[in-house]
Symmetry: C2
Subunit: 115 residues, 2 copies
DNA sequence: TAGCGAATTGAAGAATGTTGCAAGTCGTGA
DNA sequence: TCACGACTTGCAACATTCTTCAATTCGCTA
């Protein structure tokens, strides 16, 4: 192979690709099955070209695949485990946010006490 | 709460935070348990200040926590599920890379046939 | 309490990523 | 084969993120 990319770098790159609001929304929509661009566009209110750019990123990394169906283009998740990753992420996020809220509550309490 | 951040945006932000080579390496090292900065520094060959910057990012998002132990500062993973997320990511990545290699092999074959 | 090692912070410039618009491709039906 | 809808691509302006280096903080001990 040409470039022996270290694994940790590939991993970082992978997460970075997931780290964009539009791309995440696309992946979440695709969890329920294949969808034409037209529908994605209806759910995510952005310019067609902006969506296309982000779809191109997901495609370039092999996270989604696309095929033409007559006049429209249909996208779907490439691997079966992406959905699981998103679920795990959601769980962690819930934990983190809960933790932050507790912390926030504590801080508020301390603040009030200090007044 | 002050800002009603949409969930998909929080999720994207979370992935983006994971999407950095140094941060990923730190998280992988911390999977085996708490470690002082000094040790992280020994494993990841970068300047102390650069590591500190990235640790600060992880801390800011509540992904790791730090505490001072005498002369050194010890870091550890904040939530229990981060390790699982990393494992899932590794599995997906393995799939993706395998898929890409197969594709590459096909392309090479086709190329050779076309010559 | 002066000094040293360990780690963090601040700030500026460099590098990357994102957005928006204009132009281009590809099917399909008139 | 012209025209139109559905997408994609190229590119320049703009925004964010990273790196680097100097300055600073915090414990500890001589």
């Amino acid at each position: 192979m040409s470039a022996p990319v270290p694994l940790y770098q590939a991993k970082a790159e992978f997460f970075r690709v997931l780290g964009h609001p539009v791309r995440i929304r696309v992946l979440e929509l695709l969890q329920d099955g294949p969808r034409p661009v037209r529908e994605l566009l209806a759910d995510i209110a952005i310019e067609p070209s902006a969506l296309s750019q982000q779809l191109a990123v997901l495609r370039r990394y092999g996270i989604v695949v696309s095929r033409r169906e007559g006049p429209s283009v249909v996208y779907e998740l490439a691997g079966g485990d992406i959905a699981e990753l998103l679920r795990t992420a959601r769980r962690i996020l819930t934990e983190l946010i809960t933790g932050q809220n507790e912390l926030l509550a504590e801080l508020r309490g301390a603040e009030a006490a200090a007044q």
